[in-house]
């Protein structure tokens, strides 16, 4: 056996783990329960839209996208926090990690599997939304553009969840991941709300530094632009993708580093 790293083989192993993760979700009940909830939310958006004076399409679009985003995030958090922990808890991980495979591949494989599940889920919901919009004469493909950025957000959230899953218990992970989600969606208001409340120059600087450092998930939220079909800023998409990837990479690398040294007891 040579000492050269066999990247192709690694990719094969990651794919195997991902496929298995995908199967796990597709065969679990929680996946369908969350899907049902999302469909319920879409139906609710349609019902609410009958109450409005003015354009129904707008209500369906706004509430539909927000609902999809919210439920995808919840799926991501509540499935994501168990991704590593449950395997350790149920001891199913012993069989996998006793195979000739670096441990980090397990984390990466689980991550990609989860992202595939979320992708399927998201796509299904977006299709339903598009059909609903088409019924109410508001068909727009921009929905998928918004969906793409929801997916970017999910990539970050799942990475956060998997990071915590590989170091902490599900309850703690859920709290921490939810906290990150909330911070990610409110850190954009730091300059507007938080900074004026601070009197100390140093505190202000810290707040601004945090503002730039914490994951800014609301930046990835383009739902508000879609309503008025406001064109997305030039170069936004590519930067947002790189931003997401950087964040995901940071979290996955950190998760792998910690997990590499961890006793699986």
């Amino acid at each position: 056996m040579t000492n050269k790293i066999d990247w192709l083989f690694f990719i094969k192993q990651i794919t195997s783990i991902s496929k298995n993760t995908y199967k796990e979700s597709i065969r679990s009940k929680i996946f369908y329960i969350l899907m049902a909830f999302a469909v319920l939310i879409l139906g609710f958006a349609v019902i609410l839209s009958f109450l409005t004076i003015g354009s129904q399409k707008r209500i369906i679009l706004d509430l539909g996208l927000a609902g999809i985003s919210f439920f995808s995030v919840m799926t991501s958090i509540f499935v994501g926090i168990g991704l590593i922990y449950v395997e350790i808890e149920k001891k199913t991980i012993y069989n996998v990690l006793s195979k000739p495979m670096p441990r980090s591949l397990f984390i990466i494989g689980r991550y990609f599997g989860m992202m595939a599940v979320l992708g399927t889920n998201l796509l299904a919901m977006l299709l339903i939304l598009t059909v609903l919009l088409a019924i109410f004469k508001g068909f727009t493909l921009m929905v998928f553009y918004a969906g793409f950025f929801i997916y970017m957000e999910l990539a970050v959230i799942t990475a956060i969840a998997i990071f915590f899953s590989s170091v902490a218990s599900p309850v703690l992970s859920a709290i921490c991941t939810l906290a990150f989600y909330l911070i990610g969606h409110t850190s954009s208001t730091f300059p507007e709300i938080l900074v004026p409340l601070l009197h100390n120059q140093f505190e202000k600087k810290v707040a601004i530094a945090l503002f730039h450092l914490l994951p800014d998930l609301s930046m990835l939220n383009v739902c508000n632009l879609i309503t008025y079909e406001i064109p997305i800023a030039q170069g936004f998409t590519i930067r947002a993708i790189i931003y997401t990837f950087s964040y995901v990479l940071v979290l996955l690398v950190a998760a792998c580093l910690i997990f590499r040294k961890r006793d699986l007891v």
Partner: protein, 311 residues
Amino acid sequence: MKEAAISIRNLKKSFKGHLSIGRIEALRGVDLNVPSSGIYGFIGPNGAGKTTTLKIITGLIFPDEGEVKIFGKPNSEFTARSNIGFLPESPYFYDYLTGEELVFFFGSLFKIPKKELKERTVSLLELVGLKGKEKLPLRKYSKGMLQRVGLAQALISDPELLILDEPMSGLDPIGRREIRDLILKLKKEGKTIFFSSHILADAEMICDEVGIIVKGKIVERGKLETLLGKEVRFWDISFRGAQVPLELSQKTVVSHEDLTMIRVDSEEEVETALLLLQSNKSKILSVIPHKASLEEIFLSSVEEGKNDKQN
């Protein structure tokens, strides 16, 4: 001489105690050498540190001290695991998969071409006696079936070394026998088998060599024949007679109505005892020579371990 399948030097491992108070020393310097042929039994009472040792070997936990080599390769390299098959203690599997999917999934983590992997999955499931149950989800498997599917997944890469943690625990006598036969069959195929057990009968029947671990330390190791010894240790004589001769009453083990059993330590004593009994008109029922059993060795080791601790 062939390289040792597993060689362990001075392995130490301690865990955090309950509520993180104090430390539990699970392994206190384990040395072990598993030769690359035959069946090696790793015997010890519950909580002796067998599982801990096996987890360290397979890289699931990390030792505080000491080193482990698998076929000469340090086990910290993940490639060291490419030649072993591992069956964890009372194995847990993804219960949403079918038996076939499970074995295939674990196989896909090895460098095995897909087509070959499929064939091997089928033949292995047949080997472990799960033919016809491949399409059943694992949550419908019985404990014995899980153990067998676990063996199948351990064998999927056709490894030279099999590491089995308590492969027979929790099974009924028929299940135990089947697993035992399977292990013997694998030995015939030229595989090295390293298994742990707290049940001596299993080991006595199939092991070529054993290591006995008590409280995190190897207390006895070697070939089974050398451990057990060749010569007879004592004799049991049973007879029927109204009266036990005075000289023999000291040696009585059991006596019930007119039935009595005595135990003597040497051949001369047997002769004198028989003469005495004949003169007494007792009816000799049986004279049975006894060799040392693994159980005795085990028990004496455990005693030593206890004394160790007291000191």
